[in-house]
Point group: C2
Chain length 512, copies 2
């Protein structure tokens, strides 16, 4: 952000609140400051409730907590949106009608968390017994035991616990933003729908169904998906889309049992070697996928998207240092531009054993799991098909299960390909009015320049919203970048909770 614009923003924030003007940050900040200890305590209580999608009791307790908070905040029609089947974690619904509002915006977050392996967490830490620590739990940090005794809470403190960053912070910030506006007597500019999913981390298997089943309640002009981390630069970010995703599993067959590598080495086919050659044939030394047609379906970036991309801060060097490598797959391409291309990635390879378990054998099978990330324009089934065509062009016979004895004695090179279900990328054009409203609202609500990404590198089934709720989604993350998402020692930077509340409030006041 240019200094001149920043000045303008500060000016705008200082003017008296009128409808469709940004929320006065000073007022909201002061209000947050006044309540931060109470809210922190409440948030710790929220994070303490186990939230695995498979844990029915935990899910019920979370839903109860959220619904109580919504009701206390003056949100109306608070209810569970159930799926057809029993025992599916329900979505939680609420709404706020605003007189004369022209649009209805859904605020989405999810209250379930990733599975946990408590043994991997730091000694003494429990995924559902949140702590407050004074910095990222990487090297040296201190546990803050008596936060109530501090005059102010430090924005750099962290709250630990599963769900602290992914994605209870979304739930809490959204509800707290509305509650704060109400307490401060500031009216939202749009009708608000609250929609909190309960099985996102399980892959949202019933989301489409819930959206269809409760369609009349969910009519809207756009969805704000509050999930994920902000930009590594520390600046707020909106993602106008996501990459699609489709998995494949390849298993190459050799002999029908492992053979002694002395008695048969040089003679029996080695599936680990065959698989290596096959995988090597798919990508060159600069990470370019060599599969015919792999990039052909890609919708080119618009001029606006290109320009947004140019304004994304380049944090590649810092990230590479943090992640301990100096050569990216294609050193001539930045991270943010790489994420706007389809990718073919090896998630894992397994053939017999290595290390102490290795033995002098020729393995009988070799397996690789691949994931294909897809961008706008690329159909996931077509993309899987291109990979299969490539495999066939390398001389392979493709089966859908382990080969029969007859197949083994009929084909030179045999591979089992499992096509996993997937979904396409989703992208809201930058020039779309909703995209403009969202970016402006967030930019107005925050002090640092907004990063606008045409697409996230990761995948979410956002196509579902477009397909089943008939509205465009835009992702507005608030968690800190280094939140250990999906992993052990998940944590939320406290300042991100407060900024999240401000951003969500700003969105509830988006220009009409």
């Amino acid at each position: 952000m240019k200094p001149r614009y920043l000045y303008l923003l500060v000016y705008m924030l200082s003017v008296t609140l009128v409808s469709a003007q940004p929320v006065d940050r000073g007022t909201l900040d002061q209000y947050i400051r006044l309540n931060e200890k109470k809210w922190l305590k409440q948030y710790l209580d929220f994070v303490s409730i186990p939230n695995l999608a498979v844990d029915r009791i935990g899910i019920q307790r979370n839903a109860g907590f959220i619904m109580d908070l919504m009701k206390e905040s003056g949100i109306e029609s608070v209810q569970l949106l159930e799926a057809d089947q029993l025992n599916v974690p329900p979505a939680i619904y609420g709404q706020v009608k605003v007189p004369n509002a022209k649009q209805t915006i859904v605020f989405y977050a999810h209250y379930d968390g990733q599975p946990v392996d408590a043994t991997q967490w730091l000694p003494g830490w429990q995924p559902f017994e949140p702590l407050i620590i004074d910095s990222a739990p990487i090297k040296k940090f201190t546990v803050i035991k008596d936060y109530m005794s501090y005059s102010n809470l430090d924005a750099n403190w962290r709250i630990t616990g599963r769900g602290s960053a992914d994605d209870k912070v979304g739930i809490y910030a959204i509800i707290r933003a509305y509650a704060s506006l109400k307490k401060l007597g500031i009216s939202p500019t749009v009708n608000i729908i609250f929609f909190f999913e309960g099985e996102e981390e399980a892959g949202s298997p019933h989301l489409a169904e819930i959206l269809k089943r409760h369609a009349p309640l969910l009519k809207s002009d756009g969805w704000i998906i509050c999930d994920g981390p902000i930009h590594p630069s520390g600046r707020p970010v909106v993602y106008l889309g996501v990459r699609g995703d489709a998995g494949m599993e390849l298993t190459v067959y050799g002999s029908n049992r492992p053979l002694h590598s002395g008695h048969y080495g040089n003679w029996a086919p080695n599936p680990a070697h065959l698989l290596s050659r096959l995988l090597a044939s798919m990508k060159d030394d600069d990470g370019r996928v060599l599969i015919k047609g792999f990039y052909d379906q890609v919708t080119p970036l618009t001029e606006q998207e290109k320009s947004a991309l140019e304004n994304v801060p380049n944090v590649d060097k810092e990230l590479q240092e943090a992640y301990g490598f100096i050569r990216s797959e294609n050193p001539s391409r930045s991270l943010s531009s790489s994420l706007l291309l389809p990718s073919l990635n090896i998630n894992g390879i397994q053939s017999a054993a290595t290390g102490k378990l290795a033995s002098n054998i020729i393995p009988s099978i070799a397996t690789a799991t691949l994931d294909l990330r897809l961008v706008a324009g690329v159909d996931y089934q077509k993309q899987q098909q291109l990979v299969e065509d490539h495999i066939r062009a390398q001389g392979y016979y493709i089966t859908r299960s382990a080969p029969s004895d007859a197949e083994r004695l009929r084909y030179n090179k045999i591979i089992q390909v499992k096509l996993k279900s997937g979904y396409n990328a989703q992208r809201t054009p930058l020039q779309h009015p909703f995209a403009q409203q969202v970016t402006e609202a967030i930019q107005s609500a925050t002090r640092s320049a907004l990063v606008v990404m045409p697409s996230m590198g990761g995948s979410l089934p956002l196509y579902i919203f477009e397909k089943y709720a008939n509205a465009l989604p835009i992702v507005v993350p608030i968690a800190n970048f280094d939140n250990n998402q999906h992993a052990e020692n998940e944590n939320l930077r406290l300042g991100n909770l407060w900024t999240g509340i401000v951003e969500m409030a700003g969105l509830m006041r988006m220009k009409q």
Copy 2:
């Protein structure tokens, strides 16, 4: 074998026994037939004694059984040859001096067995509770419960149990061969030393030491190594050498932690992909190793060796059918000729996970275990060096441990290479007098044409005998080819035990 020669052999067998003439098969066969039930019972008792090299009690019990059998058979100086350290499974020694014998020949076998995973054995089977079954334990077979009630034992029956084929049959056949000659009043033509190792399956870690420590007892003109299976054609075989072996473990590094394949896919280096490319660069589609100089050190086959190789029955098609593949690594090369070349084989690959455990990540490391098999002329350390040179030529920085942070930020492509210890190939020239004596003796003792292999595909540390016992070794296997060596359901074909006795007796009467 040509019919004319077979006729000659039958004639030779029918003549009266004189020194340096083959043992009369009729006499020996008849003697075996008379005693087979008693010996089978004794052999079952032997196989019942657990024989893992790490099981001190089991090893002691085996040694006791063997020494008793040796003493009963009239073998002299029966004793344990200990290593320097305590608790090393000792070798068992014995000798027979023959008046006027010009040569001393050592008969080697080992009494320890491979580790067992009893859960992998057929239901109800125990590795150390041998059974008698009527055919190979593959599809349909019947357990013979009352073998004593049969008038004759069927040569195709099998004895199950760990060690039944590898290598207690060697111990039993050697002792029983000498005992039989003695009972029949037939004198060996050579002085005999019996040497039974107790930790071959653990890699013979103290063999060299035992040979050095007891060198005066072990002075000889050659070693008969009775271990391994006969030729897949069912014909007897001698191996005049073995391939050497040297392992390597390669670990390619990417980022210092697994990264999300959506947020970083196309950008973060993928070690699984890098490793695939590296492995693919090492070998072409026809199994030819592309590493510079890989075949340069090979000692070419002599004319005699080439001629022996041409006479090896080609069982490739049958083996391929049994093992379920139709394309060998190099379809233009036979199995037996393949085994006379150095090989580079992938024993296993591991990078993150596949199948149900796979997740959408970019792995942080990828590991492959390789083994190099070596033939005459090839130095194992030089061969490892060539592989390293190749890896460096692909742009890799080689470390001997996990890279430091500083190394990670200094080198584009990083690999850890662990060089495992190994040993060179060993080969007794076919034209050597000892090779001639051995092949002639076995050919005379058996009814089917002998297969002479210049080298086994597998590896044994035979160089130790040449280096520390100052004598050439020749491998004379007797177990059936399909004995499930090292695996579950190990078994010995009964006929191979009897033939083994005949062959060992024949060797004890080799021409002087």
